[in-house]
C-alpha cells in the first residue's frame, strides 16, 4: 500500500518524516549510543492531532525495512497516512497493536539495526512498554490539567445556577433524568466545548437538549467565572473538579488577573440608568431573521450615543491628558473557554447593523477557535458587558485599563411602571450601569450620554439606517 499514498493526495509525507525526528531527538540519540535500536514514534500528522490510531502495520516483526519505506498506517483526526521509516533496519517489536491508540510522540515500535539485535530489542520493548505505558498513565492527568482548567475554574461559581437548573431538568424524554436526550449537533458541540450534558437543561422539543442549550451552558460557565465582582460562593462542586487541588491560571486567565489588579490604580465611579426596551425588542423581533443579534443592536446604539459624546469615548493614557479616540470601537466581553475576551466591533457607529451582526458572528467564531488577531480584541475604546441573557438585572463591571468607560447591561424585564400621565402600565425595562474613569469622564458626561442612549434605544429607528 505504500506506493499508493505517495501521490499528490499526500503532499505532507516530508513533513511527516520530519516531525518524529525532531520530536524524538533526545531520546533516540541516547538509545542509539547504547545499542542500535531506535524507537518509531507516533508522528503529529496535523497541528491539532494529539493522538493517533494505528490502522494497520504494513510490516510485521522481523521484517527488514529500508529507509523511506512505509511501516504503518496511522489515522489522525484528519486523514489516514503512511508513516515511513527514517532508518534502515529490522522491525523488531511492535508496541502498539493495530486498532490501538497512542499519544503523539510516544513510541509505537522498535527498530533494530541488525538482525542480531532483534531479540535485544524485543526484551527492551517488554521493559520499555512497561515504562511507556506508565508514562502514558502519567501523561494523561498532565494533559488533563492542561486542557481542562477551563471547566474547573468555571464550575464553582456556576454550579449554584446549574444545580438549581438540574432540579427542574427532569423532562419527559429522559425517564426522570436517567437518560440524556440530546440532538446530534448538541452532542457534537458539548464534546467540542467540553460541556457535561448531564448538567445541561434541555429546552428543545420534549425537553431535549439542543445546540443552543449547550452553547448557553458553556457561556454561562465562563461568564460567571469571569464576573469580576462575584463573591466566592460556597457552592457544591460539580464532578469536573478535583477537590483539594490547586489549578494554575491559563495564559488567558493570567492576563485577566493582571488587568484586574491594574484596574485598581484608576479612580472609577458608576452611574446607572433604566431604559425602556419595548421598541428595541419589537425591532429585534422584526430583523432577527436577517441575522441581527441583540449584541449588535446594543453595540450600534451605544456607538451612536458615543458619537454625540466623544468624551465618553476618550481615555486617560498618562494621567495628564485626554486622549480623544478617532474611531468608536465597541469591545464586547465574551466568556470563552475558561476565560474572557473582548472582540472589537470597529467603527460601530458607521457600519450598518447587518454588517455589524455578521462581523460579530465572525468574531465570536474566531474567538472560539482562538484565532482572534490582536487588533480584533485590544482596540476597543468602550466596552459592553451583557449578562442579561442569564436573567441578571443589574451588575457592576470593572473598567478595563486603557479605556474610559465600560457599560454593564442587565436583563430587559417586564415591569409595572407609572407613566407621566398618571397611568400604570407594563413596560420592558433594562438597567445599564456605566463604570468610568473620573480623570476624564465626569458625572454629567455620563448622565447626558445615558440620556442620549436611552433616547436611541427607546426610539430605535436610527439603528437600522
Amino acid at each position: 500500500m505504500a506506493h499508493i499514498l505517495q501521490t499528490a493526495f499526500l503532499p505532507s509525507t516530508s513533513a511527516l518524516r520530519r516531525t518524529p525526528i525532531s520530536g524524538s531527538k533526545g531520546k533516540s540519540q541516547s538509545l542509539q549510543v547504547k545499542a542500535k535500536i531506535r524507537e518509531i514514534f507516533m508522528p503529529a500528522l496535523s497541528s491539532t492531532m494529539t493522538e493517533g490510531k494505528i490502522v494497520s502495520w504494513m510490516k510485521s516483526e522481523g521484517d527488514k525495512l529500508s529507509k523511506g519505506e512505509s511501516v504503518v498506517v496511522v489515522e489522525s483526526d484528519k486523514a489516514d497516512m503512511d508513516v515511513e521509516s527514517f532508518h534502515e533496519g529490522f522491525l523488531a517489536a511492535i508496541m502498539v497493536e493495530e486498532g490501538g491508540v497512542a499519544p503523539v510522540g510516544s513510541a509505537i515500535a522498535l527498530l533494530a539495526e541488525t538482525e542480531d539485535e532483534i531479540a535485544e530489542a524485543k526484551a527492551k520493548s517488554q521493559s520499555s512498554s512497561g515504562i511507556s505505558s506508565a508514562q502514558v498513565v502519567e501523561e494523561k492527568p498532565k494533559q488533563k490539567e492542561e486542557s481542562e482548567p477551563a471547566v474547573p475554574a468555571v464550575a464553582p461559581t456556576v454550579s449554584s445556577i446549574k444545580t438549581v437548573a438540574v432540579g427542574s431538568a427532569v423532562h419527559p424524554a429522559s425517564e426522570g433524568g436517567k437518560r440524556i436526550v440530546a440532538s446530534p449537533y448538541a452532542k457534537k458541540l458539548a464534546k467540542e466545548l467540553k460541556v457535561d450534558l448531564g448538567t445541561v437543561v434541555g429546552t428543545g422539543p420534549m425537553g431535549r437538549i439542543v445546540a443552543k442549550d449547550v452553547e448557553a451552558a458553556a457561556a454561562a460557565g465562563v461568564v460567571a467565572a469571569a464576573l469580576p465582582a462575584s463573591p466566592a460562593i460556597a457552592a457544591p462542586v460539580t464532578s469536573g473538579i478535583e477537590l483539594g487541588t490547586v489549578v494554575p491560571f491559563t495564559t488567558m486567565q493570567g492576563a485577566v488577573s493582571r488587568n484586574m489588579v491594574e484596574s485598581l490604580s484608576v479612580p472609577t465611579f458608576r452611574v446607572g440608568y433604566t431604559i425602556t426596551t419595548n421598541a428595541l425588542d419589537a425591532l429585534y423581533k422584526k430583523i432577527k431573521s436577517k441575522g441581527v443579534t441583540m449584541t449588535a443592536l446594543l453595540a450600534k446604539a451605544t456607538a451612536l450615543a458615543l458619537a454625540q459624546h466623544p468624551v465618553v469615548n476618550s481615555c486617560c493614557r498618562d494621567g495628564n491628558s485626554f486622549t480623544y479616540n478617532s474611531s468608536i470601537n465597541i469591545a464586547v466581553a465574551v466568556a470563552i473557554d475558561g476565560g474572557l475576551i473582548t472582540p472589537v466591533l470597529q467603527d460601530a457607529d458607521k457600519v450598518d447593523i447587518y454588517t455589524l451582526s455578521r462581523k460579530w458572528k465572525e468574531l465570536v467564531d474566531k474567538a472560539r477557535a482562538k484565532q482572534l488577531q490582536p487588533h480584533e480584541y485590544n482596540t476597543g475604546t468602550f466596552t459592553l458587558s451583557n449578562l442579561g441573557m442569564f436573567g441578571v438585572d443589574r451588575f457592576d463591571a470593572i473598567l478595563p485599563p486603557g479605556t474610559g468607560a465600560i457599560m454593564a447591561v442587565g436583563a430587559s424585564q417586564p415591569a409595572v411602571v407609572a407613566s407621566k400621565d398618571g397611568r400604570i402600565g407594563m413596560k420592558n425595562q433594562m438597567q445599564v450601569n456605566v463604570t468610568a474613569d473620573h480623570r476624564v469622564i465626569y458625572g454629567a458626561d455620563l448622565a447626558s450620554f445615558l440620556q442620549t442612549l436611552a433616547k436611541i434605544i427607546e426610539d430605535p429607528k436610527d439603528l437600522t439606517l
Binding site: 499528490a8 437518560r179 420534549m206
Partner: protein
C-alpha cells in the same frame, strides 16, 4: 436502487450508441453473475444483513444456449399475436426497452398500473435530484468560509419549504410527460391497469372494477420494479415515520430525523435534510457506515459528509421497533445490538426515514400461472434476463428486467437490461456486462463508482491468480476543482498491472457522477489503461482528474500497448 438514473430518462435515444458497441462486449458470464450478486447485495439492502447469494441462479452456458435456440424456433403453432412485445411496467426499464423495441420494428405495448415513469421518475432519482440541487445551493450559500474565499458576500440564506417541494414535484411531472410523449410519438401502446400473466404469451390487464382485457404477445418483459423495503416492527405512518416515497414530497423538515440505513438513499437524504437545517442520526445495521462503497472512499466520504455535519450515528444496531409520534410523544426507536440481539438504546426523535433498501414489486403478476416462484420477491433470471421457473428451467418468451430481478437495482441498469432483451428477441444474442454499469450517489460532493471495489478485486485476484494495483489522484491537484474552491476529493483506480485492465474506478469529489463515464465506457469497450492514457482531455477540466489517474497507473507489459485505436479486448 432507485436513486440513480438521470441520464437514462433524459436521453431516450441514447440506445443508438449502445447498439453500435454491443457486438464488442463478449464477457465471461460466470464472473459477471457472481459480481452482480455482490453488487446487488451492496446496493439493494444496505441496511440489512440478509444473504443474497441464493438469489442469483445461473444455468450452465451450454444448456442455456440450447434452450434459447429452441425457444426461438419452437414448435408453437404460428398464430397471430396482438403484439410482438408487451412490457409490464412503465418505469425507466420498461421505457428503455419499449423505445428500443420500436426502433427494432416490434409492435410494442406497455402496461402501466400506476403512473408512467415508475419509481425513478415519480418517487426516486428524479425528484430527489431536485431536492439535492437545492441542498447543494444551500450548502454553498451557507458556507461563509467558502463564499469568503471566493470573495463573495451573501446575506443569510433561507428557503421556502413549499417552494422546494414544488420544484421536486414539477420536475417529476415534466420528466413523466417527456417519457409519455416519447412513447406515444413512437407508437408504443400504453395500456392502463395492473398487468397479470395468465398463461404463455398471454397477459390480462385492467383497472379495479372494470372488466379485464386479454392481450397476447410473442414476448413478455416483466419490469414491475420495487417499493421501499420496510423491515418488520416498523410502523410507517407517512408523517413522522416515512419512506423515501413520503420524504420526496418534503411535507416537513423535522428538527431531528433518524435515518435507518446509510446506503445511497439514506446518504442522499442526510445531505438534503442537513442542508435544510435538520439534525440527523444514522442507524446502520452493519459495523460501518456506507457499506457497499469502496472502504477507502467510504472512510473519506464519512470525514466529509458525516463528521463535520450535524449528524451522529449508531452502527451495528437494528431498529426493531419504530413507533410514530402521537399524543404529544415523539417518534421512538428501539435499538438492539445487531450481533447479541440485546436491547441497546431507545431514541426519541421528531421523525424517522426508513431507507433500508427496496423490495421487489412482483405480487399479482400471475407468476404462478407460468410456474415461477419468486425468491424473497425477486423473479429469478439467468444472465440474459430470461425467467427461470420453479424447476430451474427457462420459461420461454418471458423476461424480467430491473429492480424486479434484483441483479442491480439501478434505473439505468434496468434500461440497459431491457435493451439487451430486445436485442435477443430480435435475433441477436446479447449479454449485458453489469460490471460496466456505473453508479452514483448525489451527495455534495458526489460519489461514483464502476466495477469492483478494492476488496472485491483483491478477492478475485487471489482466486484467479493475478496481481492487483491501485492508483489514486486527488482533486486537490486539479485546476478546475481549485478554481471552484472544491479541492476535496479522491479518484481511485483498481487495475491489473500485468495487462492494464481496469477492474474498478471510484470517485469522491465535485461532479463525480458525471466523471465516472469515462471509466465505465472504458470497461464496457474493453479499453486498457495503456490505451486510454493517451486520450486527450481539455484543460482545465475536472476530467483531468481521471486523465491523471490513468497516467499514474503503472502497467508492466509495454508489449500490450499497440497504438491508440485498439480492438476491444475480450475478457
Amino acid at each position: 436502487m432507485h436513486s440513480i438514473c438521470s441520464q437514462a430518462t433524459t436521453l431516450p435515444r441514447s440506445n443508438f450508441a449502445f447498439d453500435s458497441r454491443s457486438p464488442a462486449v463478449p464477457i465471461s458470464k460466470p464472473v459477471n453473475l457472481r459480481f452482480c450478486g455482490l453488487r446487488k447485495e451492496a446496493f439493494g439492502f444496505s441496511g440489512l444483513t440478509h444473504s443474497c447469494s441464493s438469489r442469483v441462479r445461473c444455468s450452465s452456458r451450454g444448456h442455456s444456449k440450447k434452450i434459447s435456440a429452441s425457444a426461438e424456433n419452437n414448435g408453437t403453432p404460428p398464430k397471430s399475436f396482438d403484439y410482438d412485445l408487451i412490457i409490464i411496467g412503465a418505469g425507466v426499464g420498461g421505457h428503455g426497452a419499449a423505445l428500443h423495441a420500436v426502433e427494432k420494428g416490434l409492435r410494442t405495448a406497455i402496461i402501466e398500473g400506476d403512473v408512467v415513469g415508475g419509481t425513478c421518475v415519480n418517487r426516486g432519482c428524479v425528484p430527489s435530484k431536485a431536492l439535492l440541487a437545492v441542498s447543494g445551493k444551500m450548502r454553498e450559500l451557507q458556507s461563509e468560509h467558502h463564499m469568503k474565499a471566493l470573495g463573495l458576500q451573501v446575506s443569510a440564506a433561507g428557503y421556502d419549504r413549499q417552494g422546494v417541494a414544488d420544484h421536486a414535484n414539477n420536475l417529476a411531472s415534466k420528466i413523466r410527460s417527456n417519457l409519455t410523449n416519447s412513447m406515444k410519438a413512437l407508437g408504443v401502446d400504453i395500456l392502463t391497469g395492473v398487468g397479470t400473466i395468465v398463461g404463455p404469451q398471454k397477459v390480462k390487464y385492467g383497472k379495479v372494477g372494470f372488466p379485464d382485457n386479454i392481450v397476447t404477445a410473442k414476448d413478455i418483459i416483466i419490469a414491475t420494479g420495487s417499493v421501499p423495503f420496510v423491515p418488520k416492527g416498523i410502523e410507517v405512518d407517512g408523517k413522522t415515520v416515512i419512506t423515501s416515497d413520503h420524504a420526496l414530497k418534503l411535507e416537513s423538515v423535522p428538527d431531528w430525523i433518524a435515518i435507518v440505513g446509510s446506503g445511497y438513499i439514506g446518504l442522499e437524504f442526510s445531505d438534503v435534510y442537513t442542508a435544510l437545517g435538520s439534525e440527523v442520526t444514522f442507524i446502520e445495521a452493519l459495523d460501518q457506515l456506507m457499506p457497499g462503497f469502496d472502504p477507502e472512499i467510504g472512510k473519506l466520504a464519512q470525514r466529509v459528509l458525516i463528521n463535520p455535519r450535524k449528524i451522529d450515528y449508531h452502527t451495528g444496531v437494528f431498529a426493531t421497533k419504530i413507533t410514530p409520534a402521537k399524543d404529544g410523544k415523539p417518534v421512538t426507536i428501539e435499538l438492539i445490538d445487531a450481533k447479541t440481539k440485546e436491547p441497546k438504546d431507545t431514541l426519541e426523535v421528531d421523525a424517522a426515514l426508513i431507507a433500508t433498501g427496496r423490495a421487489p414489486f412482483t405480487n399479482g403478476l400471475g407468476l404462478e400461472n407460468i410456474n415461477v416462484v419468486t425468491q424473497r420477491g425477486f423473479v429469478p433470471v439467468d444472465e440474459r434476463m430470461r425467467v427461470i421457473d420453479a424447476n430451474g428451467n427457462l420459461v420461454p418468451h418471458v423476461y424480467c428486467i430491473g429492480d424486479a430481478n434484483g441483479k442491480m437495482m439501478l434505473a439505468h441498469a434496468a434500461s440497459a437490461q431491457g435493451i439487451s432483451v430486445v436485442e435477443q428477441v430480435t435475433g441477436r444474442d446479447h449479454v449485458l456486462n453489469h460490471l460496466s454499469i456505473p453508479a452514483a450517489c448525489f451527495t455534495h460532493p458526489e460519489i461514483s463508482m464502476v466495477g469492483l471495489t478494492e476488496p472485491q478485486a483483491r478477492e478475485k485476484a487471489e482466486k484467479e491468480g493475478f496481481e492487483v494495483s491501485v492508483a489514486k489522484t486527488s482533486f486537490k491537484a486539479n485546476t478546475k476543482a481549485l478554481a471552484e474552491n472544491e479541492g476535496e476529493g479522491l479518484a481511485k483506480l483498481i487495475y491489473r498491472p500485468d495487462n492494464g485492465e481496469i477492474l474498478g474506478v471510484h470517485i469522491f469529489g465535485l461532479h463525480a457522477a458525471d466523471l465516472i463515464h469515462e471509466a465505465s465506457n472504458a470497461i464496457a469497450l474493453g479499453t486498457r489503461i495503456q490505451e486510454i492514457k493517451f486520450a486527450v482531455h481539455a484543460h482545465p477540466t475536472l476530467s483531468e482528474v481521471l486523465d491523471e489517474l490513468f497516467k499514474s497507473a503503472k502497467v508492466k507489459s509495454a508489449a500490450s500497448s499497440h497504438g491508440l485505436v485498439s480492438e476491444p479486448v475480450a475478457v
